[in-house]
Amino acid sequence: MRPFGYERAESAVAAARRAADTGATFIGGGTNLVDLMKLGVMTPERLVDVSRLPNRDIADADDGGLAIGAAATNTALANDPRVRERFRVLSLALLSGATPQIRNKATVGGNLLQRTRCPYFYEVGLPCNKRAPGSGCGARFGRSRDAAVLGTSEHCIAAHPSDMAVAMVALDARLGVRGGDGDLRWLDVDALHRLPGDRPDREHDLAPGDLIETVRLPPPPPGRHVYTKVRDRASYAFALVSVAVVLAVEDGVVTSARVALGGVAPKPWRARAVEAALTGARATWRAFCAAAEAELAPARGHGDNDFKIPLARRAIAGTLAEAAGIAPEVPTGGRRATP
């Protein structure tokens, strides 16, 4: 672990300016960054602490949406009554992530920018193009159980680990980004993360000093909110596959569908093929399965994670069914009566 400078910013504007001037890295709750620094995966020379900035309020926006300070903790956001009632998928996603202790520390801004959990990224002795550009992808022909099946490249197959961001993508959140010049600009959350291509080390287009200051949720889309997270144990595990759904069905017909996926792509994945296939379609089990198939048509596994494709298909269809209030038509083959 390398020695580093540390300072606390007084305001978002000051933090952004300071980071732009010095190339400093922001630290929020530190639940991911500190681990990576201990392992030598990230070696910032200077940290600017933005966890105690005043932008931690959650407030009603004029358009009926919500304005969320990026320094709000995951716990505060998950338990906000407006989030629980009107943006329920976001609350469900947050509460499915990490542990209460981590959620108490982790901030909204930090959650959006957390790094992948690909084990090769963490293992400084082995190749990883994201950590050490040009060294190769250790996961592609190695252990890839956690890796992505959509949006990958030959250079990187790492998955984005966030639950919160998956729900925010489904909710069309917009990010208010404070630049080093002091200006505030707006960015769709779906446009924050880049796909790896040949530069997996560049995960977003934020410039040094760009600080996510606020997150705006537009008024919620109509329909029922469901978040499914498939994981290896009941708590404190990253998603193998997760599905955020807000689905409105009237007279058996889907009138509005918002669907996003986690655990399967290098970024929180807006499932536009599912949405396109379903909008105006009848809400049937068969339609849900077909929509999932359409989304996953381009998916490619890497051995260990091949299972994510059929698992994602099941999870998407099952989550849609739950939102629509219909029963999944799942063969329970081989089940015998108790002798």
């Binding site: 020695p3 030598g40 252990r143 099952g318 089940r335």
Partner: protein, 711 residues
């Protein structure tokens, strides 16, 4: 039945063996006054040692450049193979047993496995040590190695180990398996796979070593003090009398602290090299390479029965890796040798030498993974016979030890199955329905067996002038309750209140025991202490001396009789019909392990074992990069121990009685019994729930999904 213990305090603060005495060290632990190794403070601040691990598997060390590391302010030295104190070659003497052999490190320019230490930075502060460790430049040339063991190896790669853990032969048979198999009308022939596992004790492996030029004092988290002394003396070529090992409190071991580990050797080397005390606490990440672990397994089980439900043929054959240079083989077929009567049994253990981190005894060696396979296969056979899996087991419970024909000292499997089934409501399970929302419900059963061992042990007890009794023995308390049951033995035998008893453990200056391991700790150390207390009582009555020593060793009852603990698990699971996630909803275990010394601590051991079993069945597995021999999920976010939400309410029924063939105390071991068989009960319940027979453990959603009907 001993599950109705004495729970109210006896008159005058007295406590008897068998009372439900709360942990005597509990208040110390919860108020932070129990000094674990890394907590211990010396008058002189120790140097902090930080390990630089190998970033390659089997390799040659071409160069270690320590110049930049040595420039970091506060760094005192960097030990490498070039300047580390001389040691005996690793593994010598070869006849001393694996826990006593040399564990030399930084001794040669070679790396045996990924993560092996190649340098140790010694600095005044942890920060300086850690920074400098990142600046040590190591040049390695990878050498060819075998890392993956799949069970498909050609015969010439398979070796017959000299013996399996517990000292039994690798191959054992009884009757004629081939004939019985031929005769069988219904057969199961199935292969099961388990991933490598890691104990992940809460307290990391840690050592504080001091050296005064003559005597080495090593404070270390260790399960067996006596062999640690021998191992350090062997490694460092010191006189055994000049090595003292102290280990008063240990935060979990599960086998990973049986023998000395890297930090013990490295801290000692550092202390000898610098003449300063040295503390080395391993990181969680390093521990996943350096601490001993359980190897992966491939197990083929063949069972045959007559149409009317009599078991005729049993074969259990396993292939596991053996870490090169470290002789340990896990007895996967232990339960197959012990549980059910049949005409012919065949058991075989094979190992493949691999360039992996040390593979050793992890809690429940043999049964933990062996019973996953064996008791799953028993269930498969019962299903094939269309028999109730409890009734099928009951009909075939062994009357004598199946592999030898020897009589049992006591064997309570039948009663465990009956009592457990009754408590669980097995015959009424259909009333609970087959579905709860999206959860498909299922019920499973499995038997548990575990061999009972008694080891030679000594203990000393003294009556002080103030009327207090002080007991001293080098037994350890790894969180199990040793302090408590040993205090009860003294209080009961000398008729003293508990607060007039002091038990001192974990110091090689005390009489030697076999420590904690193999579930033998309580009966062995406790038996020695009971013998000392009885002798002292006799002396006092006769007006003799105020100090006595006791001694115990396995007598001829361990030759004449087969000795086992038994249990039966009953489990209800839910399988998510869409995602194939499995959750345990309820678990009842009935156990018999001789006399219960303390129902409170015994129950905790059984609960802990059951949680361990849930982890082994559902969540735990190391993911190996087969190109370099590195386990990739080396932290507690990636290696999934069960969390609180993975563990439902557990119910434990203890039905054992005193068995005087098991030693002076009449007790057997309980530390591992709770996990034996539990995982198979879960897998059997998963089959009951969704019709999928999953033969690949752990039962993560992908494994279950792959075994279910496609859709």
């Amino acid at each position: 039945m001993s599950d109705t213990p004495q729970t109210t305090p006896r008159e005058g603060g007295r406590a008897a063996i068998g009372d439900a005495v709360p942990r005597v060290d509990g208040p110390k632990k919860v108020t932070g006054r129990a000094p674990y190794t890394a907590d211990h403070r010396l008058d002189e601040a120790p140097l902090i040692g930080w390990i630089v691990p190998s970033r390659a598997g089997r390799a040659r060390v071409d160069a270690v450049d320590t110049a930049r590391a040595l420039d970091v302010p506060g760094v005192v030295a960097v030990l490498t193979h070039r300047n580390a104190p001389k040691q005996a070659p690793r593994g010598t003497p070869s006849d001393a047993g694996r826990f006593s052999q040399s564990h030399a490190l930084l001794a040669a320019p070679e790396v045996a496995c990924y993560g092996e230490p190649v340098a140790l930075v010694l600095a005044e502060t942890l920060e300086a040590a850690r920074e400098a460790a990142g600046l040590v430049e190591v040049a390695l040339t990878p050498l060819p190695g075998r890392y993956a063991v799949t069970g498909d190896e050609p015969d010439e790669a398979l070796e017959v180990p000299d013996d399996v853990d517990g000292g039994m032969p690798a191959d054992m048979s009884h009757g004629d398996f081939d004939l019985a198999w031929e005769k069988a009308e219904v057969r199961v022939d199935a292969t099961y796979e388990t991933l490598a596992e890691h104990a992940s004790a809460m307290e990391p492996h840690a050592t504080l070593a001091t050296w005064d030029g003559e005597e080495l004092v090593v404070r270390v988290a260790i399960q067996i003090v006596g062999s640690a002394v021998e191992a350090l003396a062997n490694t460092l070529r010191l006189d055994k009398e000049k090595v003292r090992v102290i280990s008063p409190f240990i935060g979990g071991g599960f086998g990973s602290k049986l023998g000395i580990h890297d930090d013990a050797v490295l801290a000692s080397l550092g202390a000898i090299a610098t003449d300063r005390p040295v503390r080395v606490v391993q990181t969680r990440r390093d521990l996943f390479s350096s601490a001993p672990h359980r190897g992966c397994s491939t197990q083929r089980v063949r069972l045959g029965a007559s149409r009317d439900g009599r078991l005729l043929a049993v074969a259990h054959e396993s292939v596991m890796p053996m870490a090169r240079g470290y002789e340990f083989a896990e007895p996967c077929a232990a339960s197959a040798r012990a549980s059910y009567a049949c005409d012919g049994i065949l058991t075989r253990h094979r190992v493949v030498r691999a360039d992996l981190p040390r593979i050793d005894s992890m809690r429940g060696p043999g049964e933990a993974v062996g019973s996953l396979a064996f008791e799953s296969a028993v269930d498969e056979l019962a299903r094939a016979l269309e028999r109730d899996p409890v009734a099928f087991r009951l009909a075939n419970v062994a009357e004598t030890e199946p592999i030898s024909g020897k009589p049992f000292a006591s064997f309570d499997l039948r009663r465990c199955l009956e009592v457990g089934a009754e408590r669980y409501g097995w015959s009424r399970r259909a009333e609970r329905g087959r579905r709860d929302g999206r959860w498909l419900l299922g019920h499973g059963v499995a038997s548990a067996t575990r061999p009972n061992f008694l080891m030679e042990a000594k203990a000393r007890v003294r009556l002080e002038d103030d009327g207090r009794a002080v007991a001293e023995l080098d037994m350890t308390d790894i969180g199990t309750g040793s302090y408590t049951i040993l205090s009860q033995i003294v209080a009961d035998t000398l008729e003293l209140p508990l607060d007039r008893v002091e038990v001192r453990l974990g110091d090689s200056r005390y009489p030697q025991t076999a420590g904690s391991g193999g579930s033998f700790g309580a009966a062995s150390a406790g038996g020695a202490l009971l013998s000392a207390c009885r002798r002292l009582r006799g002396q006092l009555r006769a007006g003799g001396g105020r100090e006595a020593e006791g001694h115990i060793e396995p007598g001829e009852d361990f030759e004449k009789y087969a000795q086992y603990m038994t249990g039966a698990h009953f489990v209800e699971v839910g399988v998510d019909e869409v995602t194939s996630e499995v959750r345990v909803r309820r678990a009842v275990g009935a156990f018999s392990f001789g006399r219960v010394l303390n129902p409170t601590t015994a129950r905790s051991q059984l609960y802990g074992g059951m949680v361990f079993g849930i982890g082994g069945a559902l969540t735990e597995g190391l993911h190996l990069d087969e190109r370099v021999g590195a386990y990739m999920n080396r932290d507690l976010a990636g290696y999934h121990l069960p969390t609180e939400r993975d563990v439902p309410a557990l119910e434990v029924v203890m039905i054992g009685e005193r068995d005087d063939r098991c030693g002076l105390l009449g007790s057997k071991g309980v530390g591992e019994l709770g996990l034996c068989g539990l995982g198979a009960a879960i897998a059997n319940a998963v089959y009951d729930a969704c019709g999928a027979r999953v033969r690949r453990f752990p039962l993560t959603p992908d494994a279950v999904m792959a075994a279910r009907a496609a859709w």
